[in-house]
Structure formats: structure tokens, C-alpha cells
Symmetry: C2
């Protein structure tokens, strides 16, 4: 358990921590289509603007989104779309496994 390994795990856990909230996952999925400003995104998702801003700040700190100022508003855009693919992959594997266990548990259903 060297220092380098620990550092890597902390970095990755940081990425996952940023993703560990339903609203932030939804935000990323929304950003997948096009860039949004805080204001519109907050309205579309039914959030206080301060809450939306803070969630986006976390995503940005993790490096998952990036910003660009446009006049008075700030445009957020997705950096690594593959992150969402990962979610789909993990979900698929987990659900497949779960289904397999059910089939073993209930073999008479066929």
C-alpha cells in the first residue's frame, strides 16, 4: 500500500464522491446534451440557484465539468462524457448479476 497507490485511490474516490448525489448525476446527464447556465439548469431541475451552484462547483472541482463566462452568466459544460458511460456499464453489470442470482434462487420459473 504505497503512497502512490493511496494517492490514486484518493483521486478516484474524489471523482466518485462528486458523482455520489442523484441531482449531480442528473445534472451531468443534462449537460451531456448541451451546455447550460446555472440559472436555467436550476429552474429546469427545480433547485435553489445557490444549491445548483454548489453542486456544479463540486463537479467542477472534481474536473467533471468546465465553465465559460458569457456576460453575466456562466456556462457549464461536460468534460468527460465517458463518465456517464461508466455509470451505464456498472449499472448493466450489477443488474445482470442481480438477475442471474434471482434465476438461481428461483430455478423453477422457467
Amino acid at each position: 500500500m504505497d503512497q502512490r497507490t493511496l494517492r490514486r485511490c484518493e483521486f478516484r474516490a474524489g471523482i466518485f464522491k462528486a458523482l455520489a448525489h442523484p441531482m449531480r448525476v442528473l445534472m451531468l446527464e443534462t449537460l451531456k446534451e448541451k451546455p447550460w447556465c446555472v440559472c436555467e439548469l436550476a429552474f429546469a431541475l427545480g433547485l435553489e440557484k445557490s444549491v445548483a451552484s454548489k453542486h456544479l462547483a463540486q463537479l467542477k472541482a472534481a474536473g467533471l465539468v468546465d465553465t465559460e463566462k458569457r456576460g453575466t452568466l456562466v456556462e457549464y459544460r461536460l468534460v468527460a462524457p465517458c463518465v456517464l458511460d461508466v455509470a451505464a456499464c456498472a449499472e448493466g453489470a450489477i443488474l445482470a448479476k442481480r438477475r442471474a442470482k434471482l434465476d438461481i434462487a428461483l430455478p423453477l420459473r422457467s
Copy 2:
């Protein structure tokens, strides 16, 4: 923002939450090689057995690992290795982006 979408985001956020701790990431990477029992894994990673057990329980609840009883010990094994590959992908994308921004910020360095 229909109910189904929200449900999906909650499920995915649950997976990410299970991954949102350096020690749990390290545990998954360790389990990638071979199955481990709680006892050995706790010793190898320098954890209290109760702490290791709780981390593993979280990973199991998320569906990321599975267990098999062998006498007095419980063997934990990885379910979805693709999660770790995804982590590597996300990390790569984020670091690449970060590097790109630094190059823009310091263009005279070349």
C-alpha cells in the same frame, strides 16, 4: 424530470456513493486480483476488522461485490470489473483536460 429518470439517477448515485471512499476504491482494486476474506483484507490494508466489514457491506449493498461463505470466513469477490476500467478512463479524461488547460495557460513553456 419524470419519476423514472429520477429513479435511475438515484440508483447510479448509489453506485457512486459506494465508490466514494479511498479505502473502498483500494478494496475493489485489491479484489480485482483474487477474492479475499475480510480478515486478510483488513490486515493487508491496515484496517480494523469492523471497519473493513462495514466498507465491504457498502460495496455489497451497491452490488459491486458478492460473497461466498467458506467455513468461518466470508470470501468477497468483485462483480463488475468494468467499474475500475471506467474509473481509469474518467481519470484519464480529467487529467488530460487539466493538462490541456495548463498548456493554454502557459503557452510559452514550449
